[in-house]
Symmetry: C2
Subunit: 260 residues, 2 copies
Amino acid sequence: MPDMEIKDYNNKINKILYVVGIGPGKESGITGEVREILDMCDNWYGYPVYMDLLKDLDKNNSKNKITTKMGYEKERCEMALRSARDGKKTVLICGGDAGVYALAGLILELSEKYLDVEIEILPGVTAATAGAAILGAPLGNDFCVISLSDILTPWEKIEKRLRYAAAGGFAICLYNPASRKRPDYLKRACDILLEILERNIICGWVRNIGRTGETSRICTLGELREESADMFTTVFIGVRETKIIRGRMVTPRGYNNKIY
Amino acid sequence: MPDMEIKDYNNKINKILYVVGIGPGKESGITGEVREILDMCDNWYGYPVYMDLLKDLDKNNSKNKITTKMGYEKERCEMALRSARDGKKTVLICGGDAGVYALAGLILELSEKYLDVEIEILPGVTAATAGAAILGAPLGNDFCVISLSDILTPWEKIEKRLRYAAAGGFAICLYNPASRKRPDYLKRACDILLEILERNIICGWVRNIGRTGETSRICTLGELREESADMFTTVFIGVRETKIIRGRMVTPRGYNNKIY
């Protein structure tokens, strides 16, 4: 069927592209509904790392796995949309949640050319909450999620958001704090935050959440500046109230001070 | 065993209190690892609504379910800690994620009196990402999560965060936008946001995510001001780039404009 340019929302839609979040890593972090969709779909589209994480869910290697490299997300999405339009049971696999720095939005944008394909999005546990659980409860009150990747967002905008998040008193969770091409971005972000926040603000990071080699550390903002991070690291910056309890990072919500 | 005031971290800990997030509602939104913990633990502590959501997981009614009303979270946590200390297999159940406006932080605070009990926190899908998946992809770029409940946070602080989130260019997800005692809080929040944002900014809300009676709507910020919300509603406020695509709310990340 060629691309339909005529918008006919009344047309019966029975082709579905599932866009799912598989959580941060381990199989046990996948929700029941996403697991069902993965079982049901024969065509898995995704980033190579996710296919590797899911290999135990396809023990007899019966799934048709189609991957594209990082940077080729649009191509991956177009291929998945075409697969669904051709009537194949298709799932596009995202790490963490399907809509947080992931492909749900791009699929919806591109799907305007595939009006006979319905888009069903199923959420997953995102790194902000999965990493938080490992550290303790750093996001126990209002928080911001900011990606330090400037591939799709200009650095000035990222810098501005860091300033507003810190000045607004939000705990901050940083995705993509560094990569091979951006080795010093976490340091640059810390320097901006240190213009507003005290050096002794409690921070933490988790690398490879739920995956082999999971590591984490709690430190101060001053120390965080010197930590090394990569694209599999999630960083947490506390607020003034954030403290260390039994070696865990905790941003209290205030329950404990509430007078009944 | 009486409360231990002596901190002895070298003591062998073999008592565990599990603090888990069950996702927003339906059973299929629970992760595999949380499901395992619920199966394994005989003593379920939680808010009555969550027990009701989980009733199909305890078909033969073998679990010992202990609930306290809203406002008695500290009592609920203390009871769960005592249960774990007494050697009982105990889980404290949170809606959504265990650490987002939930009890992981309070448990860690209170656990200083229960040093022989280890706290294990397991994340869940929080309403921000579960509601986003229903609306489309409203949180496709940097975002803030703010609770409008002023029971534990002074309203001035909430107001300040709304201003900084809007001025910083974040998409915003509002938890607890209203309750019976705070019927007009969403309107008050919209009025603050309208000082900074245009009336035609795309917004949306979802009520009873993943539960019976799930409803949602996409509207403008000007219209959101007139919408009714309750404590089971999650609200999404877009940014200037947010648009409606095929009836869904999408905050693009920029993939579609990227030049390869």
